[in-house]
């Protein structure tokens, strides 16, 4: 008796849908067993938390950002150009959005405390909460139309992300330097640049922001509007997501550019023989990816944080590593753009399940630190991904038992 593993020539029918689905179900099941074994976490609590997270509006914002980033990454990934640098591109998007939102789109009026009441009720004025070093107050006044300012923020953030990715793209295309390494390293350069800028050019002007590594807060008129109080997702973010998804789908599926990108992934020589400038495509794939990631920077800044906060530890940047999580999303989607929202939904729900589970546990156990409950999220995600990998093997290989002998 022998076990024979062979690669399937034809992919499993519906594999693209069934595999992610099965892996969630099996993964969650295994995770509950593991959690019970490790820390006696009641399985019902886990199921409850996950069930709740699947329909919880709080995961919407993560879903939106992961979908956009998943699309951003799938474009170069289809071309076998590995953009690991979404983090850095988001960071530059944030920085440039902040630059527009905090300097170009507003001007600061310094008012003495006695004049302050005049400004507090004036429309379009936003009084910064604490005085400046000199004792006077600073008021942010819009210097341009808020709609135009938001558009400008998005454009500049997109350009910033694109330029950051372009550097790695040029190095890959013309100097043959591996983009995995460069984009990854450039993430850290971006983090440090961010901290430099938070303490330097964009440092807050009030007495209590300047020393603390904070920028000024964004003018309320420039902030994205939340869909409801229950979620941090914004109308602007959702609109961007839909637009980016549709455009990216169209480009990848309906244009020669997208087709060639996909061919570039499996066989660049063919493109060369067809007379196509492969370098240009590599650079473009990374640049487009960076531009979309840059937009996420705006969503994060104008839709959620409203302020640049210094990076305290290099492992916890303001992006909370969503640029890396997005790699996971694009991988889960099996590099098919239609799978991106599904994968993003799964990952976003699992993160949310982690939060729900933690808060349930914190209440039940009264805080006995049996398991670091922050790890719960990762146990869940880890199990789902492991099952996913195993199931993918089943999908791509057929396994059968054969008898040997006379």
């Amino acid at each position: 008796m022998r076990l024979i593993v062979t690669k399937r020539v034809k992919p499993l029918k519906f594999g693209g849908i069934i595999i992610p689905f099965l892996s969630i179900i099996v993964g969650i099941f295994l995770a509950t067993i593991a959690l019970y074994g490790l820390a006696r976490v009641p399985p019902l609590l886990v199921y409850g938390a996950i069930g709740q997270s699947l329909i919880s509006p709080q995961m919407l914002q993560t879903f939106v950002m992961l979908t956009i980033l998943g699309v951003a990454l799938i474009i170069p990934f289809n071309a076998a150009v590995w953009n690991i640098g979404a983090e850095g591109q988001i960071i530059w998007g944030m920085i440039m959005s902040a630059f527009i939102g905090l300097t170009v789109a507003v001007r600061y009026i310094i008012v003495s405390p006695s004049d302050l009441p005049k400004y507090t009720n004036m429309p379009g004025m936003f009084v910064l909460p604490t005085p400046t070093v000199s004792g006077a107050y600073a008021v942010e006044a819009l210097s341009m139309n808020p709609g135009a300012a938001i558009c400008l923020m998005l454009i500049v953030a997109g350009i910033a992300g694109a330029v950051w990715a372009l550097i790695a793209g040029l190095m890959r295309a013309y100097l043959d330097i591996d983009e995995v390494a460069t984009t990854l390293i450039m993430n850290y350069i971006a983090y440090y640049a961010y901290n430099y800028i938070v303490y330097g050019p964009l440092q807050g002007i009030t007495i209590s922001t300047s020393g603390f590594g904070l920028s000024n807060a964004l003018h309320p008129a420039l902030r994205f509007s939340r869909i409801s109080t229950a979620t941090t997702a914004t109308w602007e973010g959702v609109a961007l997501m839909i637009a980016i998804f549709v455009i990216a789908w169209f480009v990848l599926r309906q244009t020669t550019f997208g087709l060639r990108l996909r061919i570039l992934g499996s066989n660049p020589q063919v493109l060369r023989a067809a007379g196509i400038n492969v370098r240009k495509y590599i650079v473009l794939a990374l640049t487009i990816s960076g531009a979309i990631a840059g937009l996420v920077g705006t969503i994060l800044f104008a839709g959620n944080l409203y302020q640049l906060i210094k990076i305290k530890t290099i492992t916890t940047p303001p992006t909370h590593n969503i640029g890396y999580t997005a790699i996971l999303v694009s991988w889960l989607s099996m590099l098919d753009i239609r799978g991106v929202p599904i994968a993003a939904y799964i990952v976003a729900s699992l993160f949310q399940a982690g939060i729900n589970l933690q808060s349930s546990l914190g209440g039940v156990s009264g805080g006995s630190a049996m398991i670091s409950s922050g790890a719960l999220t990762y146990v869940l995600i880890g199990f789902v991904l492991t099952t996913f990998t195993v199931l993918r093997v089943f999908a791509e290989y057929s396994i059968k038992v054969v008898r040997e002998g006379r």
Binding site: L60, T120, P131, T232, T319, I322, G339, S360
Partner: protein, 490 residues
Amino acid sequence: MSKTALIAGFVIAIIIVGVAAFYAGMSMAPSKTTTATVTKTVTTTVSSGAGGATVTVTQTKTVTSTAGGGAAPSWTPPSKVKAAWIYVGPVGDFGWSYMHDLGRRVVAALYKDWLETTYVESVPESKLKSTIESLIQKGYQVFFTTSFGYMQGTLDEAKLHPNLLFFHCSGYLRYKNMGTYFADLYQIYYLNGLIAGALTKTGHIGYVAAFLTPELVRHINAFAIGAKEVGQQLGKNIQVYVIEIGAWYNPTAARQAAETLVNQYNVDVIAYTEDSTAILEYAEQLYKQQHKQVWVFSHYSPGYIYGPDVVASGQIVRWEVIYADILAKIKAGVYTPYNLENVDYWDLLNSGAVEFGCWVFPNGTVMHINPKVIPILKNIQVTDKLTGKKMSVYQLVMERYEEMKSAPMYNALDSLAITHKYMNITKIYIGGKEKYYYIAPRFDPFIGPLSGYNIKTGAKVKVPAGVMLGHDALWTMQWFVDWVHIVGKK
């Protein structure tokens, strides 16, 4: 059915689930809110300058408030208070988040009749709001957000949920339903500094800092002032060397910084602000393996057991003191979602929220100073600069501790933003036979004359004799006393 149809079906399902969940979330929110416009007069008092003139402004403004139930802010404390803590890092068993969680567990057990608690750890700034929303869905009404980076997010959430209570630790933004609190260690660092000044042989003292934020700057200054007070009398040339490691938790960097200080700067006493036990363990290892005595001061959590031969003393925080106070006041209806604008705890030694020591014995008593160090301190004689009396360093440390610990007026001043400005008044003339009444402890490290330099610009800073730096000046402190040096900076 084709693959495309399956995918389309799934996407539609997601959308339906999403919409359903959205409305479910809306309906599950703890209570319905109605919006009403209320005109009320708010008196805001603004103070500026450190120990200087105070400007008071009274202003009238229209406040649009969203009130639960009616137009007027009427408030009934919930019969069961549900409070949630949000931590920036993992709880672990040492450091910042751990001590907050210890506080949570104390109050959860103490007020178990009417208090229900939970926590979520390792929440990045960008996930703060959605985490709060998740907890709101579960019916939590009181939120403690325990990281400086949560400030803007907490404020945004507070404005969106005007009938819930928010407390932000270490920040300065407040709102009618958002208060702030902080337990500050500068007095304890000063006491640690006194011991450091006595223990150092080289006169070189080290400090490993996470970031040079105003909080750490004042701690380092207090430590340096204490060290010089004793060291100078003993003829030592006290110099404090600071290394900024750029992380609140980074054992490797902390250890490397400590090694650098010991090996290159000839430092034999180290204090630090970092969330691990790395430096304690490093010093203990030096002592055990190379018989080299480098004294350290344990930070935040009781750290004596990590280095019984090297931990001279340290700082301990007791957030439960603040949490117990806040929660009881919520239960009693003192704190409501309409009156937190001025709630700002600035807890010093007198409050008990911070403690001078490095260990808490099972019976609850505190080890202020390592028993191994006490005889050394008792053998060194100094003069108390306040009274001119001769005494041992041990006596001096304990006397200062008592002085700062017993500041009854501070109990009245330390929990409201509007009273903090009075915390720079040492004594006040009241006439009569008493003439002067002491507001501050009889001793505070930040009483002039002091001279230093701005850490960014290098500009000279002088504090005239007799002037005491109060809350506001300390809160934004960005200058070092002259004998503090940042390693790697000219």
